[in-house]
């Protein structure tokens, strides 16, 4: 059990045992392999890692993905801006109502 096998030896052994396999099993295995390879080569339309080994950021791969990301960023920025404007507007209204109705005279706060 302590015998060391080098990769070449393993390949030889595998080839040898494959030759001994039944024809039906062999063709089924070949078919499965072909199918697996076909699935692997099918282009996937989702964002994925650039995968150059050193890159860890998911980068868009096509112009379409860039546009989608740009629009999402735009939507996010617009939403944030809208929310900020609304909050600021509400704060101004709240303060104005308070100033206009407070028991203290308005002149106290005006220069």
């Amino acid at each position: 059990m302590t015998t060391k096998l080098d990769p070449k030896k393993i390949t030889q052994l595998l080839d040898q045992s494959t030759r001994q396999l039944d024809g039906k099993i062999l063709s089924a295995l070949q078919q499965s392999r072909a199918q697996a390879l076909q699935r692997q080569s099918t282009p996937v339309q989702v964002l994925g890692f650039a995968g150059d080994g050193w890159t860890h950021f998911p980068l868009p791969r096509s112009a379409r993905q860039w546009i989608t990301i740009g629009l999402l960023a735009l939507a996010l920025a617009s939403g944030a801006n809208l929310w900020w404007q609304h909050t600021r507007h509400q704060q101004i209204i709240d303060t104005d109502v308070e100033i206009l109705t407070d028991e203290l005279p308005i002149e106290l706060f005006v220069d």
Binding site: R64, I67, T68, L71, L72, L74, A75, S78, G79, N81, L82, Q85, H89, I92, I93, T95, D96, V97, E98, I99, L100, T101, D102, E103, L104, P105, I106, E107, L108, F109, V110, D111
Partner: protein, 136 residues
């Protein structure tokens, strides 16, 4: 893709749309006109942004106590005649004053009331000298 583009344009439109909303005095509802009555003469010449804020203020008018409604109407003209910078400064002062402890605020209120009572002329702001119920 089409949906993404459509929603993108829709969002941009939504963020720009609220900026375009000037209203003529004649087009205001009777409730709005009642709340903003002191500004009837100058309403159409007010900047859009100020109109927008005043319309939002007017929305709260029906929910105020009668004393607060009176105070608000007395102060509207003076408030509208201030420059945007003056209003901004007044808001900041008011917010700062709101952060002062309740006791000290009450002391200031009492002092102002005494001053008002001592003054023979009526105040320019139209603040009723009676101790009106708080609006908040």
């Amino acid at each position: 893709m089409k949906h993404v583009l459509t929603s993108g344009f829709f969002i941009v439109f939504l963020s720009v749309a609220p900026l375009c909303a000037a209203e003529q005095w004649q087009k205001l509802s009777p409730q709005q006109q009642q709340a903003l009555a002191p500004l009837a003469a100058e309403w159409n010449s007010l900047p859009e942004q100020q109109q927008k804020i005043l319309l939002a203020v007017a929305k709260r008018y029906p929910h105020l106590s009668p004393a607060a409604q009176q105070r608000m109407q007395h102060r509207l003209v003076l408030w509208s005649n201030l420059t945007p910078a003056q209003r901004k400064a007044a808001r900041e002062k008011y917010r700062a004053f709101s952060k002062v402890p309740e006791k000290e605020r009450e002391a200031v209120k009492q002092m102002v009331k005494k001053t008002q009572a001592a003054a023979s002329t009526s105040p320019a702001s139209g603040v009723p000298s009676t101790t009106a119920a708080s609006t908040r």
